[in-house]
């Protein structure tokens, strides 16, 4: 019984899970808003990758830049049009974002139809520890790590990044030292949804036939599990939690199918939730702090 290949597979998909959750975590940490439309922006990113590849022959690593730009614009509009307008009415924001997610799914259905679609892009593979890993997936996972590191560096070493962390730790404190909190909110919403859409592009490398208007829901749920595990607002914590989730999913699937469970993937998901409960019980602030 060798779980190494399952572990590696889990790390690689986990890197993507970490990336796709950074935006959710950032938006919650800074704006204290649970973005329940999160999965819908992953879906938008996935369709951008699909359309760019199938209709225009643009590979996903190039179309991810386009998705990032579109996500930034969308994130700014979400802030200016929904979150800021509804202000302190937290429940209203939640309902509005839920509606926005449903609306985006329906718009996607009008444009791309209700069927599952996808594409396959191969540029070769490498062998690691006896496991054939597709290069596209490996590069995707490495880029996801690099984007995470870049975000962490921006938050840690630039004036504006430090201001973002200040708002996470104490918004009133940030206000009285001269931080334009409104601008930090707009920036975080734009960047957060930009990264989410970009992550949606990367995700398509792993789901060759899994793009669908309603694919967002499970990713929203998974995103919250990962973000809470990592510590809401913490970049490094979110990424590590993404890796853990990927490993649990992959290794859990293997072990549960060995043990003869009928629904091993459901059991692996169950295991991930058990882990979430344990982390919340033992370390309620999540793995890391911002």
């Amino acid at each position: 019984m060798d779980i190494t290949p399952y572990f590696l597979t889990g790390i690689i998909i986990g890197s993507i899970y970490g990336l796709t959750t950074l935006g959710l975590s950032l938006i919650f940490g800074v704006l204290r808003v649970a973005n329940v439309a999160h999965g819908a922006f992953i879906m938008i990113g996935a369709y951008i990758a699909y359309t760019a590849f199938v209709a225009l022959a643009i590979p996903p690593f190039a179309s991810s830049l386009l998705a990032f730009a579109i996500g930034i614009a969308a994130g700014y509009l979400v802030y200016a049009g929904v979150i800021k307008r509804l202000g302190k009415a937290e429940l209203n924001i939640l309902v509005a974002l839920f509606a926005l997610g449903a609306l985006l799914a329906e718009v996607a259905r009008l444009i791309w139809g209700p069927d599952f679609v996808g594409y396959r892009w191969t540029i070769g593979s490498v062998e690691v520890a006896g496991l054939q890993i597709e290069l596209t997936k490996l590069i995707g996972a490495i880029l996801a790590l690099m984007i995470t590191i870049a975000l962490e560096l921006v938050l840690r070493w630039t004036y504006f990044g430090r201001a973002v962390r200040a708002v996470v730790q104490d918004p009133v404190g940030a206000m009285v030292v001269g931080v334009n909190v409104d601008r930090v909110f707009a920036f975080s919403s734009a960047l957060g949804i930009g990264i989410t859409t970009l992550g949606g592009v990367f995700l398509t490398l792993f789901i060759p036939v899994g793009i669908n208007p309603y694919m967002g829901g499970p990713y929203t749920l998974m995103g919250f599990v990962i973000a809470v595990m990592g510590g809401l607002g913490s970049v490094a914590g979110t990424y590590v939690a993404g890796l853990l989730f990927g490993v649990f999913e992959s290794v859990g699937f293997y072990l549960f199918s060995l043990a003869g469970f009928a629904e091993p993937s459901q059991m692996a998901l169950f295991l991930a939730f058990v882990m979430l409960l344990l982390i919340l019980l033992l370390r309620p602030t999540g793995l890391f702090r911002i």
């Binding site: 009133v172 404190g173 009285v176 030292v177 001269g178």
Partner: protein, 234 residues
Amino acid sequence: MALRVSNLASGYGRLQVLFGVSFEAPSGSVVSILGPNGAGKTTTLLTVMGVVKPWDGVVELEGVDVTWLPPHRKVELGISLVPEGRRLFPEMTVEENLLMGAYTKRARDKIHDSLELVYTLFPRLKERRKQKAGTMSGGEQQMLAVARALMARPKVLLIDEPSAGLAPKVVADLFQTISQLKKEMSVLLVEQNVAAALEISDYSYVLENGRIILKGPASELVENEHVKKAYLGV
């Protein structure tokens, strides 16, 4: 006049807290606003700062009307607040907190001078510069809160209840330092610890139920019958 506030009214939602509060804080002096819990002292500072939106009245900084500016613009122009409860960034180090204090453009240019200045004023902070702010004692946190506000190079420094939760000896040291600050700026102090505040104030106002009911040089207010009975317990 460094800070002049006229007929300031404000509150939260439909609840009015301030009913036309007026006071002045000239540079080179410590002015205090004293009063019981719930009188509107904190609200006064938050409204001057713009964290709470004014309903009416005028706030002037060196003769310029700044009533409606948002907090970050006021910091840029020279008003700094040491807020109630300190509002530090608990997961940042002492030094990171101080650097955040110099966030505005005007302050950023003088950041090295400012750091040296606050470390001279509070040598303890220099010893602790790599420590996370959230792990320090209450007195050290209050020092850091004052130091962080100084990093913005204010012309008017608003300090909200610095003595809260601190031991008498620590309060005495802190007030000693605060009284030195007036050489460089105007200090507006809000306090429930009336005896300690009157000792370092040049001029004081007594705020009750959202209105100024008494004002005068601190040396005179110490002798006032109402102040003696209600606040000094003599």
